[in-house]
C-alpha cells in the first residue's frame, strides 16, 4: 500500500488524515489486503443472492413527517431549509 494510494482513498472517503494516521493505516490496511488476497486462489462461482423474491410496495402516499421533525437534528436550519452557513 503506497502513501499516494492511501491519500486517494482518504479523499474518496472524505477524510483528512494526519501523517501519524497515514503511517499507522498504511501498515494495518496492508495486512488486511494481504489477508483478503487469500480469495484469489478460489475459483469463481455464481453471485450470492438472498432467496427473496421481489418485494415491492404499492404506490400509495402517506402523510409525510412534520417539517420540524425532519429538521430537528440539523445543526443549522434557515427558513425551513437545512442550511450550511459560511461556505463560499
Amino acid at each position: 500500500m503506497q502513501k499516494e494510494e492511501l491519500e486517494r482513498l482518504a479523499r474518496l472517503s472524505m477524510f483528512n488524515l494526519t501523517d501519524d494516521e497515514i503511517d499507522s493505516f498504511k501498515n494495518r490496511m496492508q495486512s488486511v489486503i494481504t489477508f483478503t488476497d487469500l480469495i484469489e486462489k478460489a475459483g469463481a462461482h455464481a453471485d450470492f443472492i438472498f432467496e427473496n423474491s421481489d418485494n415491492l410496495r404499492n404506490d400509495t402516499s402517506c402523510v409525510p413527517f412534520e417539517q420540524s421533525d425532519i429538521l430537528s437534528n440539523a445543526p443549522t436550519v434557515k427558513d425551513g431549509f437545512f442550511s450550511l452557513p459560511e461556505v463560499k
Partner: protein, 489 residues
C-alpha cells in the same frame, strides 16, 4: 430450565413485586456498578418508570398483560429510539435523537417492555471487543481487565450482571454471539430476514441482523418470538410464517442430527476443547445423533466477510456528513472542507480504516477482483454449508476459539481481531441462524460458549436443542466473580 421472564411475569401478576420495584432494582444495579463496567451509554430512568407504572396500572386493574410487560430490558445503541439519544458509540452521532422507533423497538413497546437504556458497543459495530467506541470500553464482568467481546458487548455485560433482563443487540459477524460467549449469557443471531432491520443503524446491510441476549434460552425464545415478524418497510424481511419457538421448547431432541465442524474444533486450546467435548457428550446423552464433518472453504469466510462488510460499510457510513444530523465541525470555508473535517473528527480510527478498505475494494479496477470475487465465494461457502445440512440438522462448534481476551490485546493487529469471529462469521455469510449458549469455564474462570447453527428459519430447533442442553447442565450458571450485582428474584 425456567427463564427469568416467566418467573418475573408470575411475580408481577401475583402482586409479589411491582414493575416499578423491579425496575428500581435494575436501575440501582446500573447506578452501583455501571460506572465501572460501562455497559450503558444512556440510561433512560424516566421512560423506564413511566413504562413500569403503565404495566402496574394494568395489573392493578386486573388486565391481562403480555409476558414481556413490565420487564426491564435494554437496546444496543444502534437501534433507533424516538426521542432517545442513539449514538452508535460514535462522536459523529453523539447528539443524534431519532424521530422514529425501530421496528423491534415498536414491537417491544407494544408488549409493555421497560427500557432501561442504550448499551455500549464498538463504534458502528466495527469491532469484536467493545473497545472502539467513543464512550470507552465495556469491562467484562468476570474480569475487568478482559474484554466483553463485541460489538454488542454492552448488552452482554448488562444482561450478565442483572443490569437488564434481556437486551437486543445486532450481529453482523458474531456481534451478539461472541460477546454472549465471553460474558456467559445466551446470544441468538436469527436468520437474515427474520427480524426487520428497519431502524437499526446499518453497518453491513447484507450481514446485519438484530439478535437477542438473555441469561437463559427460554428468555431468548420469548423475546425472539416477539420481534420476529414481517415488516413491510424492510424489503429484505421475509414474509414467511414464523414458528413459535417458546411453545414446546422442552420437547425431546432424540434423533436430532448434530454435526461437529471438524475444521473449527481442531486447533482449540485444551480448556475450550474439553468444554466442547463435554457438551457433545451431554447432547449425546440427551439422544442427539452426533457426527463429525468437514466444511470446505471456511478458511475463505473471514476474507470474504472483511471485503464485503467494508464495502457495504463504506457506502452506509458516507451519509454522516454533518449536514442533516449529528456532529458538525466548527471551522470550515467550503462544503467539502466541512464534510472532511466533520468526518475526520467524528469517526474513530477503526471506522476510518474500514471505510477506506471498503472504498479500496469497490474502486475502479478493483471491483472485479475483490467485491465481485468475494460475492461469488460467498455463494461457494453457502454451497459448502448447504452440503453439510444435507447430512445434519445442526452444526456445532465453539462460539469463539478463545475466551475473553485482555483489553487492547487485539487492537494492534486487525487480522487478529477479525479472527476472534472465525467461528461466527459463516452464519452471517450464509444468512443462517446461530446461537451461543454457555457451556463451561476456562481455567481462569472465563465463560466458554457453544455455538449451534441451523438452516434458514430453524430457530425453533436451535432453541430447543440449546434449551435441553442448558437444562441438563445447570451447573454452568455461575455468576460473575464479583457477583455482588446479582440479586434474588
Amino acid at each position: 430450565m425456567k427463564g427469568k421472564i416467566v418467573r418475573l411475569h408470575e411475580k408481577l401478576i401475583n402482586g409479589e413485586i411491582t414493575s416499578l420495584e423491579l425496575t428500581s432494582k435494575y436501575l440501582e444495579n446500573i447506578r452501583k456498578f455501571d460506572s465501572e463496567i460501562n455497559s450503558y451509554i444512556t440510561v433512560t430512568q424516566e421512560e423506564a418508570f413511566k413504562a413500569a407504572k403503565a404495566t402496574d396500572e394494568k395489573i392493578a386493574k386486573g388486565e391481562k398483560v403480555p409476558l414481556l410487560s413490565g420487564i426491564p430490558m435494554s437496546f444496543k445503541d444502534n437501534l433507533s429510539t424516538k426521542g432517545i439519544l442513539t449514538t452508535c458509540a460514535s462522536k459523529i452521532l453523539s447528539n443524534y435523537i431519532p424521530v422514529y422507533d425501530a421496528f423491534v423497538v415498536e414491537k417491544l413497546y407494544e408488549q409493555g417492555a421497560v427500557l432501561l437504556g442504550k448499551n455500549n458497543m464498538d463504534e458502528f459495530s466495527m469491532g469484536s471487543s467493545c473497545e472502539t467506541g467513543y464512550y470507552g470500553r465495556t469491562k467484562n464482568p468476570y474480569n475487568y481487565e478482559r474484554v466483553t467481546g463485541g460489538s454488542s458487548g454492552g448488552g452482554a455485560a448488562a444482561v450478565a450482571t442483572d443490569m437488564a433482563v434481556y437486551s437486543l443487540g445486532s450481529d453482523s459477524g458474531g456481534s451478539v454471539r461472541q460477546p454472549a460467549s465471553f460474558c456467559g449469557v445466551v446470544g441468538l443471531k436469527p436468520t437474515y430476514g427474520a427480524v426487520s432491520r428497519n431502524g437499526m443503524i446499518a453497518f453491513a446491510s447484507s450481514f446485519d441482523q438484530i439478535g437477542v441476549l438473555a441469561t437463559t434460552v427460554e428468555d431468548t425464545a420469548i423475546v425472539f418470538d416477539t420481534i420476529s415478524a414481517y415488516d413491510a418497510i424492510d424489503a429484505t424481511c421475509s414474509g414467511k410464517k414464523r414458528d413459535k419457538c417458546f411453545e414446546d421448547i422442552n420437547r425431546d431432541i432424540k434423533g436430532v442430527k448434530i454435526g461437529i465442524i471438524k475444521n473449527l474444533t481442531r486447533e482449540l486450546s485444551g480448556e475450550i476443547s474439553k468444554s466442547i467435548k463435554d457438551s457433545c457428550e451431554s447432547l449425546k446423552s440427551l439422544g442427539a445423533d452426533i457426527t463429525e464433518l468437514r466444511i470446505d472453504n471456511l478458511d475463505l469466510a473471514m476474507p470474504v466477510y472483511c471485503i464485503l462488510t467494508c464495502a457495504e460499510a463504506s457506502s452506509n457510513l458516507a451519509r454522516y456528513d454533518g449536514v442533516r444530523y449529528g456532529y458538525r465541525t466548527k471551522d470550515y470555508e467550503s462544503i467539502d472542507e466541512m464534510i472532511r473535517k466533520t468526518r475526520s473528527e467524528g469517526f474513530g480510527s477503526e471506522v476510518k480504516q474500514r471505510i477506506m478498505m471498503g472504498n479500496y475494494v469497490l474502486g475502479a479496477g478493483r471491483y472485479e477482483n475483490y467485491y465481485k470475487k468475494a460475492m461469488s465465494i460467498r455463494q461457494l461457502i453457502k454451497k459448502s454449508v448447504d452440503e453439510a445440512f444435507e447430512k445434519v440438522d445442526v452444526l456445532l462448534s465453539p462460539t469463539s476459539i478463545v475466551t475473553a481476551f485482555k483489553e487492547e490485546e487485539k487492537l494492534k493487529d486487525p487480522i487478529d481481531m477479525y479472527l476472534s469471529d472465525l467461528c461466527t462469521v459463516t452464519a452471517n455469510i450464509c444468512g443462517y441462524p446461530a446461537l451461543s449458549v454457555p457451556c463451561g469455564f476456562d481455567n481462569s474462570g472465563l465463560p466458554v460458549g457453544l455455538q449451534l447453527m441451523g438452516r434458514n428459519f430453524s430457530e425453533k430447533l436451535l432453541l430447543n436443542v440449546a434449551y435441553k442442553f442448558e437444562d441438563a447442565n445447570q451447573i454452568i450458571y455461575k455468576k460473575p466473580k464479583g457477583g455482588a450485582y446479582s440479586f434474588e428474584i
